[in-house]
């Protein structure tokens, strides 16, 4: 009898242990080590994802485009980065990636990306887009968010895309070096590189993108495989929305205070950047993580007009806010 009991206990343990060991669902999350990833660092650090059974594994990338490629190949489940022509070409090429939530907008009074002109040119009166006609503007890549910025600045001034020469320099640090060495006349870049150029006396900001034209520059994206796992995909959005609300209340609404400093310290820990630089570059985003309506469609139409993507993409083929809507309904 006793022996039977022991055997039974052992059996029960053997069956129960793997079930318990399953625990939270692992989710591979591709991010850049930049201030703009603060919401995701916050979610991971504060346990907002764990609360809904998600164990986020942060995977660091150097640029937006490789994140899009990793989403397409299924190497990561979720990506959080800028919207590039390369990403749109992947979707236009028949491999779905879903844009599911806001992760950063160009917005008035919030510094994110900007156009910085060489100090000596600025001193000689080059202070608007018009005066940059025929000059060289450094961008990271053709098809990047910075390329989009320059294109839209030109449009706003009634100028043509060919009125300036875009010089692709591949990486943000290279842009700073090129401007300081006077190899280009202006650069389209992002915080904290904007602040660094101004602090070094190498350049002067002449356009703050957010003040000129607000747009949906960065988003959270799901791989096709992850989007099919509806339960986990919605659970991830619940954690994200909670994290986003925390970010909005502590960082965007206040712009100072102990809750603000806490997010600064945490972002400094994850990015390795100095807290002073981080303070200047928190991008705006919706409190609930909702996307700017229709903006993704507008972007694809613009890229298509530049002949850089094969076809404009209908919003229904790339944007899916249903995960977020479902999550928000249950969060209330």
């Amino acid at each position: 009898m006793r022996r039977l009991l022991v055997v039974g206990l052992v059996l029960a343990l053997v069956v129960a242990v793997p079930a318990a060991a399953q625990g939270p669902q692992k989710v591979k999350l591709g991010v850049l080590k930049l201030t703009s990833s603060a919401v995701l660092f916050l979610g991971a650090e504060r346990g907002y994802f764990k609360e809904f059974g998600i164990d986020p594994e942060l995977v660091y990338f150097q640029a937006a485009q490789p994140i899009a490629v990793a989403l397409a190949s299924g190497d990561i489940d979720v990506g959080a980065t800028g919207l590039t022509a390369g990403l749109y070409n992947i979707v236009a090429g028949g491999v779905p990636i879903w844009v599911v939530a806001d992760k950063g907008r160009e917005w008035p009074d919030y510094n994110l990306t900007a156009l910085v002109v060489r100090k000596d040119l600025h001193d000689n009166g080059v202070r608007t887009m018009r005066e940059l006609k025929g000059r060289k503007i450094g961008v990271t890549q053709i098809g990047s968010t910075f390329h989009y910025n320059v294109g839209r600045y030109l449009e706003k001034e009634g100028m043509a895309p060919g009125d300036v020469e875009l010089v692709p320099l591949q990486a943000l640090p290279a842009l700073n070096d090129a401007l300081a060495a006077r190899r280009v006349d202006a650069v389209a870049t992002a915080e904290p590189f904007v602040s660094r150029l101004e602090a070094a006396g190498a350049g002067v900001t002449i356009v703050q993108t957010g003040d000129t034209f607000p747009w949906q520059i960065a988003t959270v994206m799901y791989s096709a495989k992850f989007a099919k796992d509806r339960k986990t995909a919605v659970a991830f959005m619940k954690g994200y929305a909670k994290s986003s609300r925390h970010y909005f209340d502590a960082v965007l609404a206040k712009k100072s205070g102990p809750a603000f400093d806490e997010v600064v310290a945490l972002t400094a820990k994850y990015t390795g950047a100095s807290p002073d630089l981080i303070r200047k570059g928190f991008p705006y985003q919706d409190r609930d993580g909702r996307l700017m309506p229709g903006d993704v469609g507008r972007q694809t139409v613009w890229w298509h007009a530049q002949k850089l993507i094969k076809a404009p993409i209908a919003e229904k083929d790339i944007v899916d806010e249903s995960f977020l809507r479902e999550a928000l309904k249950e969060l209330k």
Binding site: Q65, A68, V69, A72, S73, T84, A85, G86, L87, N89, I90, G93, G94, V95, Q141, I142, G143, S144, E165, L166, V167, P168, L169, Q170, A174, A178, A181, R183, V184, L308, I309
Partner: protein, 264 residues
């Protein structure tokens, strides 16, 4: 007792040319590739079909895009290659002929030759800017070293018997260089040229991936950034064709210049 036929055991060393196998191998690979993409098993985004690549190439040719890239790249390669080859031959000859030049030159070349020239690119950009000069300079450097080293080796290995014969017939230093040493070094010089051609393609692509607005390297990188895999393949095929063309041209040139080594 029947005579046993003699087996030519050296036959394993004989290699026939198998002209059919050459064509079938390449065509088979392309056909398999096309088939693989046709089944939809591999998305066209990751592996574009050969026909798709051909179509994109024709389209780019028609729009003039391709010609622009090729002309820009060829200009850079030809200039860099010519400068590097001329400099390399001149330095190689000097080091081979003059004792002082050899004493000064060989340690210098030995110290600088192993540096991968791509590593010098950031420095060249700093010195010469992001324009044409730095791109041409890196190709020049890449071609210079194999040329200098091969020319030097070629000169040193000139047949001493021929040299002595020329001297005893009253040849001066210059006619010795011109009529004996240089011709003796030619096979090595051509080997250096072929080596340099490959290196210059490699360096061209690397240089054009930094701050270029046109050229084949730019085409490849830009297509990667925009995730236009078909265009990316067009660029790669183009590079392969350029490599084949340069090898073919150099081989033809070699046969014309050194007929006594024609079949080597």
């Amino acid at each position: 007792m029947s005579a046993r036929p003699v087996v030519d055991r050296a036959r394993v060393l004989e290699r026939s040319r198998h002209p059919v196998a050459r064509v079938v191998g390449l065509a088979g690979l392309v056909a398999l590739w096309e088939l693989l993409t046709r089944t939809g098993w591999v998305p066209a985004l990751f592996l574009p079909s050969p026909l798709g690549v051909l179509g994109a190439g024709v389209e780019m040719l028609r729009s003039g895009e391709l010609v622009g890239h090729v002309v820009t790249s060829l200009g850079r390669i030809l200039l860099g290659f010519a400068l590097g080859a001329l400099g390399g031959v001149a330095v190689g000859l000097a080091v081979g002929v003059f004792g002082v030049a050899e004493a000064v030159g060989t340690p210098l070349i030995a110290a600088t030759f192993p540096i991968p020239k791509i590593a010098l690119l950031p420095l060249l950009i700093l010195w010469l800017g992001i324009g044409e000069a730095s791109k041409i300079a890196v190709i020049t450097l890449g071609v210079f070293f194999p040329m200098a080293i091969n020319t030097y080796a070629g000169v040193r290995h000139a047949d001493p018997l021929l040299l002595r014969a020329a001297v005893s017939f009253g040849a001066g230093r210059w006619s010795l260089v011109r009529k004996v040493m240089l011709p003796a070094a030619l096979p090595m010089i051509f080997a250096g040229l072929k080596l340099g051609a490959g290196t210059s393609l490699l360096l061209l692509v690397a240089a054009e991936m930094i701050a270029a607005n046109s050229g084949i390297g730019f085409l490849v990188l830009n297509a990667q950034n925009l995730m236009e895999t078909t265009k990316l393949m067009v660029g790669i095929v183009l590079l392969s064709l350029l490599g084949l063309a340069s090898h073919y041209l150099l081989t033809r040139l070699e046969r014309a210049v050194i007929p006594w080594k024609a079949d080597a």
